[in-house]
Every structure is written in C-alpha cells, then in structure tokens.
C-alpha cells in the first residue's frame, strides 16, 4: 500500500529484491527486509557483486545490515529481467583476480600521471589532503 506518494519512502520496497550501491563502491544485491527512519537497511540473502568489464562475480554474504548514510543509491530489481543481461557471470576467484588486475593497472596509470605532472612542475592535490572546499 502506498503511504505517501510523492515522497521517498522505502516501505513499499520491503521484501523485494534490491541492488544497493554503497559509498565504498560495493554493490550488494539482496532482499530488503527491514528499514528504519534513517534508511538503515537489512538485506537478506545478500550477494556482493563485483563487476569487472563485462564480467561479474557473486559472493554470497548472507544478511547485511547497512547503515543508511553509507548508501549511495538503491533500486528494485525486476526479477523477470534479472537474467536478461549481456554480462557474463564468472566464478568468484576469477572475478577477484580480474579485479586485482584492474586495480593494479589503475594504480600504475595513476603513478605515471603523477610522475608526468611532477616533471612539468605541477602537482595534483590528493583528495584526502584537501581541507578546504
């Protein structure tokens, strides 16, 4: 039943399968079982899905309790369309390996970039060292 149309309320989403994107970049898929006023979520039969390129791997995680402030977005998964994806599912080990490789290449590129900038006398301030807006 619809409590408040025009407002963002998670009540209608309960017991449905959701995809939740967290602030740290993780993607969780699970059944939303319970919420509270801070949008803390209880996810059931949760699976953490790692995407690398066209492949993805699922790690079963069980029950997740997510603090509301860490959620970037979440959306309901249409169960009928769920299997209708061009992505290819692979095993956990494989996807973790792929992820590691991806992270490594990213780091290397970053290093090259920073080096190149340093050579030219420029420096990119790191986000964590910035204390002004």
């Amino acid at each position: 039943m619809n409590y408040m149309p025009g407002t963002a309320s998670l009540i209608e989403d309960i017991d449905k399968k959701h995809l939740v994107l967290l602030r740290d970049g993780r993607t969780l898929i699970g059944f939303l079982r319970s919420i509270d006023q801070f949008a803390n979520l209880v996810l059931h039969q949760t699976v953490e899905r790692i995407h690398v390129g066209k492949k993805y791997g699922d790690i079963p995680r069980g029950i997740f309790v997510v603090r509301g402030e860490n959620v970037v977005l979440l959306g309901e998964i249409d169960l009928e369309k769920e299997s209708d994806t061009p992505l290819q599912q692979v095993s956990i080990e494989e996807i973790l390996e792929e992820q590691r490789v991806e992270q490594q290449t990213k780091l290397e590129n970053e290093k090259l970039k920073v080096q190149a900038l340093k050579d030219r006398g420029l420096s990119v301030p790191r986000a964590d060292t910035l204390d002004e807006y």
């Binding site: 409590y3 025009g6 407002t7 309960i14 079982r33 919420i35």
Partner: protein, 771 residues
C-alpha cells in the same frame, strides 16, 4: 585488599600502627572466601532463588483464587493483575524511547492525551508515540509471562498441516536459562529501548519445568469486532485488566512468525466460535490491516467529523493480539464483515486534518492507489477464486517464507516518523514549490473540466491544514539532587562554542581596495534586506485572502510601510534638502540582483517614486550600460518602465527625454559629440527606452491637443534637438531595440521634412519592411 602498589600509597608513618593492625586483619580474613569463590558465588543461584520466592508469592494468591472457582479465569485475572503491575513498573522504568528525543517529544507531548472527543479527529501521529510507549511496556513485559502460559498449556491439538512450510519462518527465541514463572521479572533478551518487536512465541521444545501443571485455557480466538467499542482510547485499552491485549496472541500450537495471510488462515482455523467469523473474513483482514490509510482517507475527504478514531498503532497491537475473551459490547454495526470493516475504518488516520499539509490532490492520488490495492485484496481473498486474481508479486510473497519480517506496525512506525517530519506550521513557507505545483494541477484540471463535459471527479475543497504554532517555553533539564544548576547543552539550548568578537577596523588601515570591497558588501546587504521586504510585500496578496476582516487594515498598513522602506533603501534614507545622491541607487543598479529587484519593486511604488527612479536611471544610463555589459540584465527593466511611462504626465516625459539624450537645456549650438546619447543608442535597452519615451510623448501630443503651450513648446524643442542628434548618429552604431513603437513615424513627421524622415526611418528601421 590492602596491598599497596607503591610507596606513595602507603599511609603516613603516623598511621603505622593502624596499618599494622590492618595487616593483621588481613591475615585473618580469608581472601579466598566462600562468598566470593565458593558455593555462594554460583551465578544463577540468586535468580533461581528469586524465582522460587516469586513462585511462592504467586501460589498463595493462586490458591486463594482457586477457591473462588473457575481456575482458568482466575489465572487470567492473575495474569492480568501481575501484568498490570509489571506494566506500571516497566513504564516507570522505561527511560528512553525511540521517540523520546526531546526535540520530537516536545512537539508530541504538548498535545493532550487522547480522549474520546466527539467532533474531533484524532491522529495516530500524535498519539502513537504515547500509545507505543504504553503499549511497549505491557507488551514487552508479556513476553515472559505469556511464554509461561503457553508452556503450561501443552499443545492440545496436533500440529497442523500448513505448518510445514512455515517452519522456516519460525524464529525461535534463544533458550532461556530461567524458568519464566508468571510474575517474575522478565529477563530481558533485548534492552528496553528497542523499537517495537514482533511478539514471537518460542518453540515448544523448550524444556521448562513447572512444578505445578496449571492448566490455562488458551486465549480466546480472535474476535475482530472491537470488544471495547470504538470509543476507548488505546491508553484505556491497555489498562483494561484481563484484556487479551496483554495476553498472548496465539493459541499454543501456532508457530511464531507467520505472514499475515498465514496467520489469518490459522486463526480462522483455530476459531472456536462458529458463526461469528468466516475464514474469508479473516483472510480479508490482513489486507485491511495493511491499508488503514485507505480507510482514513474517505473520512478525511468527506470531512467526516465526530468519529472517534483510536490511533492506528494501538489498534494494530490490538489486532495482532486476538480480541479478548470478554464479549463485545453491543455494536450498532451489523455483525460479519461489517464490524470488521468498520473497526478498521475507525482507526485513527495517519493524517490528521490539522497535522498535515498534504494537498487534497495528493490525498486523492493516495486514496485512489489504496482503493486499487484494496480491490486487489478483495479479489484476492474472495471466496474460492484465489488463483486467478493473485498477481505474481503476491505469489512471490506467498512463497517467500521470510516475507513480512517487518511488521505492519513497524512499517507504520517508520511512516509515522516520516510524516511527522512533514508537518509544518506554515506549508507555504516550508514547501512552497510543492504547494504551488499542486495548485497549478488543480487549476489545470479545473480548467479542463470547464471545457470538458462537466465535473466527473469529486471536487474536494481545499483544506488548509496547519499545525497550530505551539509555543513552548523551553525548560532546561534539571537534575535532582545536584548542587546548583547544571547546564545541559541540547538542540534547544545550544552552548556557545566559539567566542566570536567583532573588531571594527580603523579607517587608516584600510586600503582603497578594501574600501571598495566594503562598499560593495554594504550594497549587497542593502539589496538583501530590500529583497526580503519585496518578498513580503508580494506575499501580502495571499495573506489577504487567508486573513480575517479585522486583520486586513493592519496588513495594509504593514504593506505600505514596507513599500516605503523599500524605496528608502533604494534611494538612500537621508533625503536632506534636495534629492539625495544617486550614488546608492547606482551602486544597486550595478549589481545584477539589484536590477532585477528594482524591476520587481517598480509596480509597488507610487508614481512619483517610480518616476524618480526612472529619472535617476536615465541620468546615469551610460554608466549603468557600461556596468551591465557582462550581465545584460537591463532589458528586464524595460517593461516596468514602459508601464510606468503610460502614467506619466507630459512634463515628466519631456524632462525624461532630455535626460536620456543628455540634451542641453537650451537649444543652443549642439555639442560636437554626445557620448551620452551615443552610449544610449548603442545599447539595446537604452534605445528601446528612448523609443518608448518618444512614443509616449507622441501619444500625449496627439491625444491631448489642449495641453499647456509651455509644455508643448518644451516638447517641441526637445524633439527638434532629438531629431537632430538622431540624424547625426551613424546607423551602424545603433543597437537593435527590443520593441519599436508604432507611432514613431508620425512623431518624426512633425519635426522633420520628408528627406530626413526617410533617413530617420531607415536608420531606426521604423518601417516594417526594412530589417
């Protein structure tokens, strides 16, 4: 015990004797004593001992009661009594409440406690917290004793078939190490302040030995017509002794967690009173439970007043427990589905007329959707024809054994909090865009209906619900027994963290730049202040409509006053002997926001004031044009200026024209160049303004031939000069005006000959064909 770690800890030498004495005592005391380490120290002893004592205590009254007859009844009474006591004790103990954040509670507590009041709609929002508080006390207390009730009454019926697929949904509570005897203080598995829990029944594998197998008749099966009648408040409901609100909901054989559907089926099966209820009615109930709002909205929309509406949470708690054993008082409603529906309808609305500012359109949408859901449910639970109507979603829910872990009550609780956040004392202030959007929609639909074949939808009157502004004097928290006043810093009483001192700088230190910056800042501040005045003034119209007759003159005065202050702000407050300097005004006009603001203010000013503004603008136009080069906001002023011009007399127009073109007072030899005019003509706004002024002048000339000759003369002189200037300007330099008034040709034809007229026409592109 008296082992000192370091020398410093040793007592002074004077106490040596005492110390030695202690040391002797030390040896005498057996540190590894019985109480600490021996048999006396076993942990659960005291608990068991306590319970045994409690048991004793309880046996006595039980024995007394048994003599009076009906053992079962008295058990229930006993239960009620004990639970009542417990409830009282617990409610005193309950310190924190999920809703007891003072910032919220303050708003809630100022509401009077829910009492049956004819003619008022009571809201679950306000009362829910109190109800919850009270309900949680007794309900939570009941987990322990009610478990024991069930344990006593061993399962009489064989476990039912449909239980199999419900096994997964059983949530067995952890084994308790203590025997839950009625009357003992409950061992808290969860802390007191947790949000409403589902009332779970532990599995019957728990071995709880009770010495005396007291037979307790299982609680009566649910009877949905409100036994207490609608007019009882939930507080009253909770405090009614022997109420099965306090008793355990389920008959012994029922597993703890069920989806409402399953629950309903079970309860329907366990029903002992024939004829009262049918399974279909039971099955229908979950649907209704799920849509209290649906029930409420027709009430609100139809403006039904005079219904006593006990709060939803109270009712829902009521509902998840079966109705008590006491027979229902005579109802006016017909039995069967009637009372069921009626009761649910009579639940307190989640919305209250004066606590929400949901627009009726919004409410209508809500209502429509709920009706759809309700219809769905109705079809769903109709006799026999279940399969076809059920949607796949319902299918999923049915097969999903973990569904509805979150109770309806809990969902309502969250929704209630969200609704509370929406309440406002002034919806226009808090939710301006929402209100305007729905008003627009209403107007659109109204317009459409007028065009269409007549009103189809029901037309709900616009209720302007507002929360009354509650003035609460904040009383700071006081601690008992403390010496003096301890200050507690909270949201209502914030503590000063930083001591910010404003130091004024001396004039000498400031550099030129700083002065300029300060001046600009001051101008910005003036603009902001004037803008707030402007917004208030613009809002007065709406306030007129909402206010009472007596208040209106006061409002008018306020409005006038504000308009005056606005003007003063624009022109500078100190008039002095002659007109104040244009400086402030020019400064304001240099800022984009200032220009827009002036454009908005102009309609409110009196004619003289507005004319003054216009003159000042014209006088300083080149400067303003220069400053406006980046913003290009000046054209916004054209429309209010032209509106104003139509009210201005000829004299003003003449002098205005003079100012605009910077024409010398006398018709002496023209200056070699007229940079003022050049600038004006080269700017879109300037040129447009000029044309409008000319047009107005022409209107005045042509319309009123009997004007003063002096004025006429003046005008003609100015026109001659103007045309002379215009002829001199090369065409390429001219800007493209916003609009070209139509009567300029006739204007110019008076003052120039044919040739020059043609020239002027081409130059100013006065003839339509030339573009």
């Amino acid at each position: 015990m008296f082992r000192y770690e370091s020398l410093e800890d040793c007592p002074l030498d004077e106490d040596e004797d005492a110390f030695q004495g202690l040391g002797e005592e030390d040896e005498e005391i057996d540190q590894f004593n019985e109480d600490t380490f021996g048999s006396g120290a076993v942990d659960d002893d005291w608990q068991e001992a306590h319970e045994r004592l409690a048991e004793l205590e309880e046996k006595l009254p039980a024995a007394v009661n048994e003599q009076t007859g009906n053992g079962e009844r008295d058990e229930m009474d006993l239960l009620g009594d004990h639970e009542e006591n417990l409830a009282e004790r617990l409610s005193k103990m309950v310190i924190e409440n999920e809703l007891e954040d003072p910032a919220i509670m303050r708003a809630v507590q100022t509401r009077p406690v829910l009492q049956p009041q004819p003619g008022s709609l009571n809201s679950s929002i306000w009362d829910g917290s109190e109800v919850l508080r009270r309900i949680r006390g007794p309900l939570l207390a009941q987990e322990m004793p009610t478990v024991s009730v069930l344990e006593y009454a061993l399962p009489q019926k064989p476990p039912q078939g449909p239980e199999d697929d419900r096994d997964l949904s059983e949530r067995a509570l952890p084994r308790r190490s203590t025997s839950p005897i009625i009357g003992s203080p409950p061992v808290r598995a969860v802390p007191i302040g947790t949000p409403p829990k589902q009332m779970a029944v532990p599995s019957f594998n728990q071995q709880i030995l009770c010495p005396k197998p007291v037979h307790v008749r299982p609680p009566m099966p649910p009877r949905y017509p409100a036994p207490y009648g609608e007019r009882m408040s939930p507080n009253q409901l909770c405090n009614v002794p022997n109420s099965s609100l306090l008793g355990h909901p389920f008959p012994p054989s029922v597993p703890p967690v069920l989806s409402p559907l399953q629950r309903a089926q079970l309860l329907g099966g366990a029903q002992l009173q024939p004829g009262r209820m049918s399974p279909s009615q039971f099955a229908r109930v979950p649907g209704f439970v799920g849509s209290p709002l649906a029930a409420m909205n027709p009430k609100l929309l139809q403006g039904r007043v005079g219904q006593m509406l006990p709060p939803a949470p109270g009712f829902r708690a009521f509902f998840s427990a079966p109705p008590p054993a006491t027979p229902p008082p005579p109802q006016q409603h017909p039995p069967g589905p009637g009372p069921l529906v009626q009761n649910l309808r009579s639940q307190a609305p989640m919305f209250r007329a004066d606590t929400t500012h949901l627009h009726p359109q919004h409410r209508r949408l809500l209502h429509q959707r709920q009706q759809q859901n309700r219809n769905q449910h109705r079809n769903l639970n109709g006799a026999g024809d279940r399969g076809s109507h059920r949607s796949s979603h319902q299918d999923h829910l049915r097969k999903d054994p973990y569904a509805n872990l979150m109770l309806q009550r809990e969902k309502d609780w969250v929704a209630k909090i969200q609704m509370m956040q929406l309440q406002s004392t002034d919806p226009y202030l808090d939710d301006f865009y929402y209100q305007n959007y729905f008003e627009k929609l209403e107007k659109l639909s109204a317009a459409e209906e007028l065009q269409g074949d007549g009103p189809k939808k029901e037309r709900t009157k616009l209720i302007t619900p507002q929360v009354a502004k509650l003035e609460h004097a904040y009383k700071p928290v006081q601690f008992e027994g403390s010496l003096g006043k301890l200050t507690v810093s909270s949201v209502n009483n914030p503590r000063k963290m930083i001591d910010a001192v404003v130091t004024s700088r001396s004039e000498d230190d400031e550099t030129k730049e700083k002065q300029v910056r300060d001046k600009r800042r001051k101008t910005l501040v003036i603009i902001e202040k004037t803008y707030s005045l402007l917004l208030d003034v613009e809002d007065y119209e709406r306030r007129y409509l909402l206010s009472l007759e007596e208040e209106r003159p006061a409002l008018m005065d306020e409005r006038k006053h504000k308009i005056c202050s606005m003007y003063d702000n624009l022109r500078g407050k100190l008039p002095g002997q002659e007109r104040p300097s244009d400086d402030l005004f020019v400064q304001i006009m240099c800022i984009r926001k200032g220009k827009r603001m002036v454009a908005r203010i102009l309609p409110f000013l009196s004619t003289e004031q507005a004319a003054d503004i216009l003159m000042t603008t014209a006088r300083n136009l080149p400067f303003l044009i220069k400053k406006d080069a980046q913003d290009e906001v000046l054209p916004c002023l054209l429309s209010p200026f032209s509106l104003l011009l139509y009210h201005l007399p000829s004299v003003t127009v003449t002098s205005l024209l003079q100012q605009l073109m910077n024409l010398p007072q006398s018709a002496a030899a023209p200056a070699p160049s007229n940079p003022h005019l050049t600038a004006v003509l080269q700017n879109k706004f300037g040129l447009s303004l000029l044309l409008v002024v000319l047009s107005r002048g022409e209107d005045l000339q042509s319309s009123d031939p009997a004007t003063e000759s002096t004025e006429n003369n003046q005008w003609m002189q100015v026109m001659f000069m103007a045309t002379r200037e215009l002829l001199r300007i090369p065409q390429a330099a001219l800007a493209k005006p916003i609009s070209i008034p139509t009567n300029l040709v006739s204007l110019f034809s008076r003052y120039v000959d044919r040739q020059k007229l043609n020239l002027l026409e081409t130059k100013l592109q006065l003839v339509q064909g030339i573009r």
